[in-house]
């Protein structure tokens, strides 16, 4: 479960770009603009994403699995919401959403209101709730053993937030 060392800028950048692409596809179904990718990497270089409380072994494992995108990302997102609400994966996803909602290319996907009837909204809500529970249960099979495994592995140190521009 060990990560590539974060002080290797070249490797980091590539990895971070890839995960930003994965999160954007997961959230909006589109690819991020170069501006979003750049800001995403910047946020990591400035050290505002990882915090000591958010970056344990299990958090890193969730991020690795979620990078695969598709169902894997969805399962991790669901599991993280309930069991690691302020964990590394959620921090990365929220950062991505924040960047996308102010991005010229992507903001319309975030802001567009899905006009439908009140009944449609309530039906959609019920559908989302059912899917959430289903994915949560499915995720438990995968994530509980992983959690146990992570609990017995020493945690890597979190680099401190950097002051000033990189």
């Amino acid at each position: 479960m060990a990560e590539a060392p974060t002080d290797s800028p070249a490797l980091d950048r590539e990895l971070l770009r890839r995960e930003c692409v994965a999160w954007t596809r997961h959230l909006l179904g589109v690819a991020p603009s170069p501006a979003v990718l750049e800001r995403y990497v910047d946020a990591h270089r400035l050290g505002v994403v990882e915090t000591p409380g958010s970056s344990g072994n299990f958090d890193r494992a969730l991020v690795r699995l979620a990078r695969g995108g598709g169902l894997s990302a969805r399962l991790c997102d669901v599991h993280g919401r309930l069991f690691r609400p302020a964990g590394l994966l959620r921090r990365k996803l929220v950062l991505t959403l924040a960047l996308l909602e102010v991005d010229a290319a992507a903001h319309a996907h975030v802001d567009e209101s899905r006009g439908s009837s009140a009944l449609g909204v309530l039906a959609g809500l019920a559908g989302r709730a059912c899917l959430f529970v289903l994915l949560l249960l499915l995720g438990l099979f995968v994530f509980l053993p992983l959690r146990l495994l992570c609990a017995f592995t020493p945690s890597p140190a979190v680099p401190p937030a950097r002051k000033g521009a990189p």
Partner: protein
């Protein structure tokens, strides 16, 4: 010519200055006065900025991502945009420590009202029973201030609690969600009044619907929270610009007033300043008026008392309005499109009567803000779904979301106080002391909140709205930024009080012209009364 020295450039100070100038005084205004940065893309709307401004990401989220509300952070749904940090940035020469209250200070040109939401509601007689005078003494000054700043409002059901005044301008058209609420209220108002004691009406706001010199009309750009690029929302900065054109007005920014010097007989002779470069200055004064905001004015008084040899000076009676945020979903708005090009702040307000048998001063006041242009990531992450589902849901319910901000009154209690801490050796070494702020809520506050909250939730239900479980947020004390009460006006000769005209007892030529002088804090936002009272004070002894 008669001259006075005034401290601060916030809402209180500028209206004192304006009236004093009108009455023939020469005014020197001393201020830390951090300047507001230029507006980014002033011609663009909220959506336009995102669409076409090359630095929209830095503008909205900050260069160091200060505007991103990460999960688990202690922010609120409406976090402050990073470029407005100048309003709240602390001052190195003003350390503080607080217990039970999270204070906000401002050292900005224009003060805290550079970031306010412009709610202006006059106090009525029931709320002024602890004051040494009634509404009639303030009424002409509400008129004056309304003329100066531009206030929108109408006579409606809220007028039973919010006195009318001159110069009320036609409000902006309601946004679709506020309109829906107002229409529904029209159908159920009899029951809301009779069964719940809840009234709804148009908010009164210091916003321009038509342009005046130096300020544009609101063009519904939806950037209110980020700083109105049209200057439609009033800021004391607008008054300051006008004052600077007056030949008898002098503005000195970049100076921190630390204390004043008193000779025997209680005459203030000079103030001690710290300039921006750290050097000190002694400035002689004829009359001194403190309007640096309740906390900062209190600090100047405490420092001066300590300087004069008082071992442990203390100012009791600090007040602040408790605020409770009640988010709601309007079922009748579900599935509607969002109108981003809207005025962003409250267009409706609630009046909640005190429970039967309680005094009229226990009135609870609410501002109703419907969600239009806003950053979505803070809201989406609070939904109890994975972020992808949450985002989908927020897009569907965005137009139906709203927030009631309930405000509760406060009373003066001796334990809630400002003190100085010299434990760092400040006094002996001639250095800075630390301001200590202590606050404890009134016993029984919980019951008052529960009563009002219960009635507001039922009222919202009658207006077709539901309050999602677990989402009500009791804000920490200090968050309303309505500080008052440390040197109250009083008819009786008591130490640490001011006369009806704001002169501090024991001093011949020292006046307080901000919230320090309020003997009771009604639930309504206080700034309109700060301005009106400051204007009144400038008429009484000046």
């Amino acid at each position: 010519m008669k001259s006075l020295t005034l401290v601060g450039s916030g809402a209180s100070a500028v209206h004192f200055a304006e009236t004093a100038l009108e009455r023939g005084w020469r005014v020197t205004l001393l201020d830390v006065g951090r300047a507001r940065p230029e507006h980014v893309g002033p011609e663009l709307s909220f959506a336009g900025l995102k669409r076409s401004h090359p630095r929209a990401s830095e503008y909205f989220l900050g260069p160091r991502f200060e505007g991103v509300l990460f999960p688990g952070a202690a922010g609120e749904y409406y976090g402050f945009p990073p470029h407005r940090e100048y309003v709240f940035a602390g001052h190195a020469g003003q350390p503080w420590r607080a217990e039970g209250l999270e204070p906000l200070f401002s050292f900005a040109r224009g003060g805290l009202a550079e970031a306010w939401t412009g709610a202006v509601f006059p106090f009525r007689d029931e709320e002024l029973v602890d004051w040494p005078f009634g509404h009639d003494r303030l009424a002409p000054h509400y008129d004056t201030v309304a003329r100066r700043i531009g206030v929108m409002g109408v006579e409606d059901d809220l007028a039973a609690f919010v006195p009318l005044h001159a110069h009320l301008e036609q409000p902006l058209d309601l946004d679709p969600h506020s309109r829906r609420l107002a229409e529904r209220y029209g159908q159920v108002r009899g029951r809301l009044h009779g069964e719940l004691g809840v009234y709804l009406g148009r908010s009164r706001a210091a916003v321009l619907g038509s342009a005046r010199p130096g300020r544009g009309a609101c063009e519904k750009k939806g950037r209110c929270l980020w700083g109105c690029p049209n200057d439609s929302i009033y800021s004391p900065l607008h008054s300051l610009r006008e004052l600077e054109a007056h030949p008898e007005f002098q503005y000195r920014s970049g100076v921190l007033v630390q204390s004043f010097e008193v000779e025997d007989g209680g005459r203030v002779t000079a103030v001690h300043l710290r300039r921006a470069d750290g050097t000190r200055e002694r400035l002689p004064v004829e009359r001194l008026v403190l309007a640096a905001g309740t906390l900062s004015s209190g600090r100047i008084v405490l420092e001066s008392l300590a300087r004069a040899g008082e071992p442990a000076p203390r100012l009791g009676g600090l007040m602040d309005n408790r605020q409770v945020l009640v988010p709601f979903v309007n079922l009748s708005m579900l599935g509607s499109p969002v109108e981003y090009e809207s005025y962003q702040y409250h267009q409706l307000a609630l009046g909640i009567t005190p429970p039967p048998g309680r005094s009229g001063r226990e009135y609870v006041h609410g501002l109703v803000t419907t969600l239009k242009s806003a950053l979505i990531h803070p809201i989406a992450q609070s939904v109890p779904f994975d972020l992808r589902s949450a985002l989908g849901l927020v897009r569907e319910v965005h137009a139906a979301l709203g927030l009631v901000n309930l405000n509760f009154h406060d009373t003066r209690r001796p334990g809630n106080a400002l003190e100085l801490d010299f434990s760092g050796g400040g006094r002996e070494r001639g250095g800075e002391s630390r301001l200590v702020i202590r606050y404890e809520p009134e016993p029984g506050e919980g019951a008052r909140i529960a009563d009002a909250l219960g009635r507001v939730k039922r009222a919202l239900w009658r207006l077709s709205c539901v309050v999602p479980p677990g989402m009500v947020h009791v804000r920490p004390m200090g968050a309303s930024v309505h500080y008052a009460g440390t040197l109250p006006m009083s008819r009786t000769e008591e130490p640490r009080t001011t006369t009806e005209s704001g002169r501090l007892r024991g001093f011949a030529n020292l006046w307080l012209a901000d919230g320090s002088t309020f003997p009771f804090l009604p639930a309504k936002n206080l700034t309109f009364t700060l301005m009106a009272n400051a204007s009144r004070l400038a008429c009484e002894d000046f």
